[in-house]
Symmetry: C2
Amino acid sequence: MRSALHFLVVARRCEIDELETLAHTCGLVGAIGRLVHGLQRERGLSNVLLASGGRRFAAQRQAQLGECLRLEQDVRDAFDELESQAHRGGSGTRLFSRIAAVVPGLDALPVLRQRVGALELDAAAATTAYGKLVAGLLAVVFEAADGATDPEISRLLAALFNFMQGKEFAGQERACGGAAFAAGGTDEARRQHWLKLIAAQDRCFRFFVDFAGPAAAERWQRSQPLAELAELERLRRIACTTAGTVLDADLATTWFDCCSLRIDAMKAFEESLTDTLQSCCVNKVAQARAEAVSHETLLARLPEAGQALANAYFEGLGEPDATALAAPGGPFGQRFERSVLDMLQEQSLRLQRISDELEAVRAALNERKLVERAKGLLMARRRIGEADAHRLLSQTAMNQGRRLVDVAESVLSVADYLADGA
Amino acid sequence: MRSALHFLVVARRCEIDELETLAHTCGLVGAIGRLVHGLQRERGLSNVLLASGGRRFAAQRQAQLGECLRLEQDVRDAFDELESQAHRGGSGTRLFSRIAAVVPGLDALPVLRQRVGALELDAAAATTAYGKLVAGLLAVVFEAADGATDPEISRLLAALFNFMQGKEFAGQERACGGAAFAAGGTDEARRQHWLKLIAAQDRCFRFFVDFAGPAAAERWQRSQPLAELAELERLRRIACTTAGTVLDADLATTWFDCCSLRIDAMKAFEESLTDTLQSCCVNKVAQARAEAVSHETLLARLPEAGQALANAYFEGLGEPDATALAAPGGPFGQRFERSVLDMLQEQSLRLQRISDELEAVRAALNERKLVERAKGLLMARRRIGEADAHRLLSQTAMNQGRRLVDVAESVLSVADYLADGA
């Protein structure tokens, strides 16, 4: 017949297992971040290469391919290492399914690279291909955030996911602009797409700030390279103010370098986020281990602790005397009984708090997913831009006094009844 | 370098592990249901014993104690068996913490029984003590429902939890009424408490119907013993219509038998719910195993399947020809590539559906928790009954065009500003 303390130790062991698995998952997320960064650079170089008819960036691209092969191997190793971890239950099902979905994309990279090298694709097609692969890799990160059962780690992973997503839009903007400058001009469709990418970045970094909190937001602000940011805005203005502008093809390199410096700064910041995440995992594992040891010590030293807890369970029952059910002359003072009981109650309150926080993080993560889905639907059906779709949703929410996510849910639930707009 | 199919198999294995652990958890839930039923009966008998000054039900209670000892051992065995299962990650942390919190209550039962036998407690104190223990056992069931990662099983567990909770209120009503009849009368406080217990049962069975669906609701309707239900309502009317009624003490046995028959019918129905849950787990494990075997067979027979998936990954890229990136003369026909790709896509859609459903079940489970908490707060602060608190919340929701849960959240968030009402 096992005691309450025994099951508290079991609970702590479950927590330790979970945190260790999370630490491995966070390692994978770091490796994915580095590969995504490499692929973003490879995409940018490939785009300029394709748009310039093979004249620009051939050597740089070749060097980048070697770097990417190495980073890809790290990610594949992290996949394998994650598998060698103990079983992961339900969250493992989803995580490994996402991994299974993205592996064919990694396998297909050699053929993609060969076709880019032979100039068989245009810049847009190459961007789409790399974009699909990066989206698949980021889906693994999303699943890691959604499946985490520690609210603090889940929140950090959600912040990191949004940051990585924002950085991906920055990478797409680099490719889009690189192709435009290299081609010596842009058209209305590309201009619209470009503006969308700028808005999407802003949105992701707003979400990042929400999840990461004010201190991280402050560090993020300070980490941005201001000179490059100013130059970036100048080049954006030149290219995006009016459609059909003729662009100086020599600005392709300036644009690319400027974007790359900005994205590299993002990368450095992303690494610091990953480090925070890793040390958060390590600290939590250490803390849970220490608590398990202290429970185990208590368990070994006080085999009768269970009786003390039992004595306290119905304490005060039907009598003003607070030791109502305590066996008279028991081996424990009331102080000890209280301290063990406090430990149990504290654990219970802690669980409630963790459960509530986790609920809040998951809800926020999924609410954003719903809002994004509803926006996508509106953009497709009513053929409007992202900003207009957002305005439509927020306006409706404000007019009806409802939350944005509720309006989004309504939009999605009546999707089939929405007529195609003009 | 492992293939996509390999990771699909890993995902399936995680799912199987999770489902097998869930099957064990469901076994525990069944054992808890039986013990709760035994304790409810013990509480009812103890209450009449105490209220009648030891004259009634002494022998029946003694027999029931033996039965309860056996059922308690089954639950303790199920706790141990659950522990011997592979690690359970985050949901295990919460489940075992709840178990740790309830074990002292089981340990304290002998002292409680001794004091009841010596007539040292009054009926109300004994009811409170048994109620605390049953609530602790039901909290384990709630955690099992909340931690399940399969939406169908989670929904069934949530239905079962609400049913068990409703049955517990029926048990409390049996004890409350038993004490009233045995004492030969009731007062206003007991009458109010009795009415609350009736409303609480109705609410739980409504929630049960929501989670279990119409077919189970229909079976639940048919399972109720109509003659006893009519007699129950008659006795309720006699006792609850006006305060201070003098009651025929001989009706204590009639009341107790009538409630017991109704609760036994609930118990039989609860057993059928537990059976459904168990066979659902068994079927799902069998299905996941079969799928894992079929993936493994495919993996063994077609080591090059990974290449086929890779070929299909960027399919249609930048060209109207749908086999754009397929290696010419590869070993696989397009039909095969499509079927493997379909498998991956199907898996991904299935995951999205599972994730959405799980979200919905968890949200519903937690929304109810929020609404109940808000009601409890209103009842305490404004000193109103449960029905009034519910009316207040729904009225506000309707007036403001908001969901009940949003109003509940607002109430909880401004809890500290609420003045004590009259």
